[in-house]
Symmetry: C2
Subunit: 144 residues, 2 copies
DNA sequence: TATTAATTAATAAATATTATCAATTAGAAA
DNA sequence: TTTCTAATTGATAATATTTATTAATTAATA
């Protein structure tokens, strides 16, 4: 998809959701749309403030949060707000509630057997892997 | 494994790594060892300060960090220090460097085909899943 | 063009994490 | 058992990250 197509799609999504297409939001989206580095808000802010010197850091935070809420972009991890520790050392997987951030262990030998792509082991020192299943838990669903 | 066995194993690991077994560390480990809620440092701190009223919050942080560094416990997410955003909406997976926190996309149709355990879909509203491959990237390995 | 609700910029406040350092202590040595 | 010393702790300051507040501005609609 061309840059222009991505931009048009973004603007259409905003209109569909009743979001104004502001120069700030457009600038933030354009900075992200071809960036595969999974940047944080500060990196995005620094990247755009040269061509948009009056933009506020809080605007970047809020725009990204708004985009995410409307499914225009994704967060790499929903558990970034605080470090969480785990005493279980054996390989296992996690069921994570997108609302309440509850994390449930899932021990499943079948899931441990996936084939690790060679592209990973060729380029890097492989350590381990874990699958995150994103859900809305029954408590949070009942609460809606 | 019994509580006492877990505690003995913990103390042995500390000795093997040259870490002192302090009452604070023991208290923190005991709070975590049977806790499957993946707590954050504040929760652990609150949980132990009744029986250890003089313990400092910073001590909890430092002990957890030390345990993690020595493989006594794990972090649920290595990407907690700041939110990271992703413009790619199609399902894909992530190769994450444990050192530099670089995140590389991995689009792999085979990996998308894993069987979602029924225990997940039975109890929760399933949203999606993503696999995180933890590695040490070639740059970081070269740097060591 | 005028109206208005949404958005922004500036900044304060809140929350999370890390650094500093004097006092204490666990573990080794005597 | 006592002494010694490097590691650890508690207290707190500093830093980093995120969210809230609010007056001014503006995008979208009529
Ligand atoms: Mn777990
Ligand atoms: Mn990605
Ligand atoms: Zn929930
Ligand atoms: Zn790296």
């Amino acid at each position: 998809m061309s840059d222009q197509e991505k931009i048009n799609q973004f603007m259409q999504k905003c209109r569909d959701k009743g979001l104004s297409v502001t120069p700030q939001r457009l600038s933030i989206f354009k900075a992200l749309m071809n960036d595969s580095s999974h940047p944080n808000p500060e990196t995005i802010y620094k990247g755009i403030k040269e061509e948009n010197p009056t933009i506020s850091f809080a605007t970047v935070y809020k725009a990204l949060e708004t985009f995410e809420k409307h499914g225009i972009i994704k967060m790499v991890t929903s558990l970034h707000n605080t470090v969480r520790y785990d005493p279980m050392l054996q390989q296992h997987h996690h069921i994570v509630c997108a609302k309440c951030k509850k994390v449930i262990d899932l021990v499943d030998e079948d899931l441990n057997q996936i084939k690790i792509p060679e592209s990973i082991t060729k380029e890097n020192q492989f350590l381990d892997f874990s699958i995150q299943f994103n859900v809305i838990c029954s408590e949070c669903r009942a609460r809606q």
